[in-house]
């Protein structure tokens, strides 16, 4: 590994000014589960590493009238360890449960997962499904960007020089709603999503009709996608298997997957359809309050 400077500022504003001064030659370090590996393989060679994982602003986990405020550096284990998140933002908890193993989960943050901006990041489709908003701090005004607009290309995002993702805001969970995230991997553990699907489903009071739905797709395009039209088209449809199957069919049409060692484009299309159908079914069951055990990989 190359030699570099390390700095651990005490406040978000100090971190922002350090980052701004470094003129693009610095990288924030949250859990480091992506960054350290990338530095070791020489993919990134920053002259300065700014440790942000202990900044209080980035470690909030609070519920208020706006919903859930999740600090960008909060590690996965705190997220799925919070019963209200498991209950109200199930898709997020599902995703955090399958990012790496226990060791990784004790470090890896959802902020890091998003800022690394990989097409297959597990928490991103879940956050898209949950309508989450990125709160970005920088030298200028704090600004907000919906998660689905955050990533711009593989490894790239909307952050400007000197900006840090401070928190992610999840709106309050509506009544009769549920969510789920699931990925397909060839093994049952230790893999990167071949396809990942997050879905949020809100039912009418009858429990039979879809009021709103939101589907986030991962690993099927250069960036994680919000299936916007498809999601909108589900409003008013009966929450039945045949609706989910056609949603799966439709999802295959809007993605632009590639062929690589993790799967062919053709295979990713097939799997997207299957996962959309299965994930909608589980999210709907949760919206109805039905018990829905899901074991990753099975």
């Amino acid at each position: 590994m190359h030699s570099f400077e390390y700095s651990a500022p005490h406040s978000l504003s100090d971190a922002v000014s350090l980052l701004a001064q470094a003129e693009g030659n610095a990288r924030p370090l949250a859990g480091g589960t992506d960054l350290i590996d990338q530095m070791q393989t020489g993919r990134f060679r920053p002259a300065l590493v700014i440790d942000i994982k202990k900044l209080p602003e980035l470690n909030v986990l609070e519920f208020d009238g706006d919903g859930l405020h999740l600090g960008a550096a909060v590690p996965c284990y705190r997220i799925y360890g919070e019963p209200r998140i498991v209950q109200e933002y199930s898709a997020l908890a599902d995703a955090c449960h399958i990012i790496g193993g226990v060791q990784i989960q004790s470090r890896a943050s959802v902020g890091g997962n998003l800022c690394n901006s990989g097409p297959a990041a597990d928490s991103t489709p879940a956050m898209i499904a949950l309508s989450a908003i990125c709160v970005i701090a920088g030298p200028g005004e704090t600004r907000q960007v919906p998660v689905e607009e955050f990533c711009t290309a593989p490894g790239e995002n909307v952050l400007r020089r000197g900006e840090i993702l401070a928190e992610i805001l999840f709106p309050p969970r509506p009544a009769n709603s549920g969510s789920h995230y699931r990925r397909f991997i060839p093994r049952n553990e230790m893999d990167i999503a071949v396809v990942g699907v997050g879905a949020f489903v809100e039912l009418e009071d009858d429990g039979q009709t879809i009021k709103t739905a939101r589907i986030g797709l991962g690993a099927v395009a250069p960036t994680p996608l919000l299936a916007e039209d498809l999601s909108a088209s589900l409003s008013g449809k009966p929450a039945t298997d045949s609706t989910f199957v056609s949603a799966g069919e439709a999802a295959r049409q809007i993605i632009t997957p590639i062929t690589d060692m993790r799967g062919t484009a053709e295979y990713r299309k097939q799997i997207t359809g299957v996962l959309v159908q299965r994930v909608l079914a589980t999210a709907t069951a949760r919206a109805r309050g039905e018990p829905s055990e899901y074991k990753p990989g099975k």
Binding site: M1, H2, S3, F184, P186, R187, N188, E189, M190, D191, I192, V194, D260, M261, R262, G263, T264, E266, Y267, Q270, I271, V274, G297, K298
Partner: protein, 758 residues
């Protein structure tokens, strides 16, 4: 499950705690990477980014000038070998090929091929220096597919390769080619055999290159001392083989090289060839300091010795009553960059489970732009077992015969002649099939599907592998407290310190705990062949028994001296010496008195027998297939295997389970994923070996049909368990879905594609 009346043993068949257990579980065992020494430098290898290219120029000036860099070497620093051929225990090999695989000269033949190396004060400087070595390449078209490489117009990897014909008729013998070997075995009259068959099945199979996946990367620390002696501390399956290879590559007498084997974190055949020691030695000679080199995981995948991908055509003729009458196979193996795939072994194994009167097999060893392949657990046998065992299953389906019944009807037994000539002594093929037939697994109801998108099925397959003999040395010294120090040259991968100690203990009539085994370096013990070929418990075991017998006879003499009776009146038996008039002295008591009657007692034993026994196994597996994604779950797995005599049953079971798990990985997801530039999945993230979530507890049935040529009846157990799993799983997938898979791995995309076609 003992077949014959088994003799009563005191130590054999028990499960003592392994002698190296505490060091391993507390992390104190010393592996190659743990080795430290004053003045140690760190080496890094510069590797090719191309699958095939000519090297035009190497400029090391910038690297050498970096502060902290102590040495830079290229192939210019290696001695020249010309057309020298050397036998290093596995047949004649070209020294030029061996040398070029260690540091290449004019061409790179695979991505990851070693081009140069640097040594520096620390690994970070060495990495930086490696980046500064400028290599100018002229890229050449690569050939990655075994059949494409056999075409007359294929790019040629090695100008000096000519086809060696073994049994096959010679054609174009003087042309440069990628086909390094063409061999042919035949028995009976295959043409007549097929004419006499009622049904003939001919199928084609493809398998991809896979890696052993040992957890510990290759490593070596070398010190080229001022007196011209070289010492290497390394992870190896055979310190003597490593010494010979290193000495030959450096053109030194073997006695100038000492290899100190460190603990080894897995080998499976992949830690026999040397890659790093000669390079570390050259760096040490230049710098005058010890140099340590450790491979990264990507280096291990790209530049060590995986096992070949293959293309196989297989034809079986069977009579209506289910008797196999004729067989034919055409087997082409990817040798990788240089000749030497185990295709010969594959040809010997392909029909070995069955007594087929007429058979013919042709094999081809073919160079392609991938790393030079090497042994991997039963090398060559798994690929061909996949082919024959799925065709046998097809025959069972077609004839409506139970798969265990058909195997019993055709099983090889004592007197069956293999296609390559040798005749089997007493073997346990039938007994393993019987054991599966009687197992609670096979007798249970086949698994039922849980939902419409999940289908379940059960499959059976068998496999064969040899039991190498080769050479071993053991010495043992009696300690005054009644214990024995045992010194051996077999590096301990699977618990062999204990299985060897137990045989010595049994022979001496003492406990396993009273034997203290040590694996010595190449100057501490006589020549010993590799830990491989399922040979250590068999062959080093024989040497240990002989060392014990040596001690017994010396002790009988010493007791005679102690009692002042003629030496022919004492006898060593049951852990002590008996003499006239009911005299008896125990081993322990006598050990304490040796200083009074002649001094220290040391016994030694060597072994060198060849073995004709061989090991067989039969497996049964239940799978569940997700028919919408093509993903396969292993629900239940049972293996029955003939161990001859299980010295330490836990280690036999461990070998059986480990082999099955590797076989499951090979069956389902493991593969070298290639494009024109080389391997794209050289990480444990994307090279998908099974995790503990992917395999159930593997149920084991040890069958014991003692081998005739070992004092306790031991057969090798380490390798054959990897052979049947791909076929057993393919057969189960067929039962579940009606789809016959004829390519490995049967990964979700491949299986789904077949499911969608059907």
């Amino acid at each position: 499950m003992a077949i014959a009346d088994k003799p009563q043993y005191n130590v054999i068949g028990t499960r003592p705690i392994r002698h190296d257990g505490v060091d391993k579980v507390t992390g104190r065992a010393m592996y190659g990477a743990d080795f430290r020494m004053a003045g140690l430098l760190h080496g890094v290898i510069v590797r090719s980014p191309y699958a095939h290219a000519r090297i035009k120029r190497i400029d090391t000036a910038k690297a050498a000038a970096l502060p902290g860099v102590r040495a830079v070497v290229t192939s210019d620093d290696l001695p020249q070998h010309g057309a020298r051929q050397v036998d290093l225990g596995e047949g004649a090999v070209s020294m030029r090929h061996l040398a070029a695989n260690v540091l290449t000269d004019d061409k790179v033949l695979y991505r990851g091929h070693a081009v140069a190396a640097v040594a520096a004060d620390n690994v970070h400087i060495a990495e930086e220096a490696a980046r500064l070595v400028k290599v100018e390449y002229e890229p050449l078209p690569p050939v990655l597919d075994v059949r494409a490489a056999m075409q007359p117009d294929a790019p040629i990897l090695n100008d000096d390769v000519r086809t060696v014909f073994a049994g096959a008729p010679e054609v174009n013998a003087d042309q440069p080619t990628n086909i390094a070997k063409h061999l042919l075995f035949e028995k009976g009259n295959p043409q007549e055999g097929f004419a006499g068959a009622d049904l003939v099945f001919e199928r084609e199979f493809d398998t991809t290159m896979v890696h052993q996946g040992y957890i510990e990367p290759h490593n070596a620390t070398a010190l080229w001392n001022a007196d011209g002696k070289v010492t290497v501390w390394m992870s190896t399956q055979g310190s003597f083989t490593a010494r010979e290879q290193t000495a030959e590559l450096l053109r030194l007498p073997v006695s100038s090289v000492k290899v100190v084997p460190m603990e080894i974190g897995g080998g499976f055949g992949g830690k026999i060839s040397v890659y790093l020691p000669p390079v570390a030695a050259l760096l040490s000679r230049k710098s005058g300091r010890p140099v340590k080199v450790i491979m990264s995981r990507a280096d291990v995948f790209e530049a060590t010795g995986p096992t070949p991908g293959s293309h196989i055509r297989l034809k079986l003729g069977v009579t209506k009553d289910g008797k196999l009458n004729a067989a034919e196979a055409w087997v082409a193996f990817e040798a990788g960059a240089y000749p030497g795939s185990p295709v010969g072994m594959a040809c010997m194994c392909v029909f070995a489970c069955y007594d087929i009167p007429h058979a013919r097999v042709e094999g081809f060893d073919v160079c392609v732009n991938k790393p030079r392949t090497n042994a991997y657990r039963a090398p060559g046998s798994t690929q061909v077992a996949f082919a024959i065992e799925t065709v046998v299953d097809e025959i069972c389906t077609e004839l409506g015969v139970d798969p265990v019944e058909l195997r019993l009807r055709n099983a090889s037994r004592k007197g069956t002649q293999r296609v390559d000539g040798p005749t089997f002594a007493r073997i346990g093929m039938e007994e393993t099939v019987e054991a599966i037939k009687a197992s609670s697994h096979y007798m249970s109801l086949a698994p039922q599907s849980r939902s419409p998108d999940k289908q379940c099925g059960r499959g059976v397959a068998s496999g064969f592998w040899f039991n190498a003999g080769l050479k071993s040395s053991v010495t043992a010294t009696v300690n005054a407290d009644g214990t024995v120090s045992l010194i051996e040259g077999s590096t301990d991968i699977g618990g062999t310190r204990t299985s060897i100690a137990m045989q010595l203990a049994e022979t001496l009539g003492i406990t396993a705990e009273d034997v203290h085994p040590t694996v010595a370096d190449t100057e501490g013990i006589g020549y010993t062949d590799v830990t491989g070929g399922s040979r250590v418990t068999f062959s080093t075991g024989i040497a240990a028994v002989r060392a014990a017998e040596d001690i017994c006879s010396i002790l009988a003499d010493r007791a005679a001296a102690l009692w002042d009776v003629p030496a022919d009146q004492t006898k060593y038996e049951n852990g002590g010496v008996t003499g006239p008039d009911g005299k008896r002295i125990s081993f322990k008591e006598l050990a304490g008195k040796l200083h009074l009657v002649g001094g220290p007692v040391t016994g030694s034993g060597i072994s060198g027998e060849e073995s004709q026994s061989g090991a067989f196994g039969t497996h049964c597996v239940d799978v569940e297939v997700d028919t919408e994604t093509g993903k396969v779950q292993i629900l239940r797995y049972t293996i029955a295997q003939d161990a001859g005599t299980a010295i330490h049953p836990s280690y036999v079971e461990g070998q059986m389970q480990g082999g099955v798990v590797q076989g499951i990985g090979w069956a389902l997801n493991e593969e070298y994923w290639y494009d024109e530039q080389g391997m794209r999945n050289a990480t444990f993230l994307d090279y998908r070996m099974p995790t503990c979530y992917d395999v159930p507890m593997i149920e084991t049935i040890i069958v014991e049909v003692p081998a005739s040529n070992h004092p306790y009846g031991v057969r090798g157990v380490g390798e054959v368990p990897i052979c049947p799993p791909p076929a057993a799983i393919a057969n189960a997938i067929y039962q579940a879905t009606g789809v016959r898979m004829r390519q490995l791995p049967m990964s979700p995309p491949r299986l789904l594609a077949e499911l969608l076609k059907s």
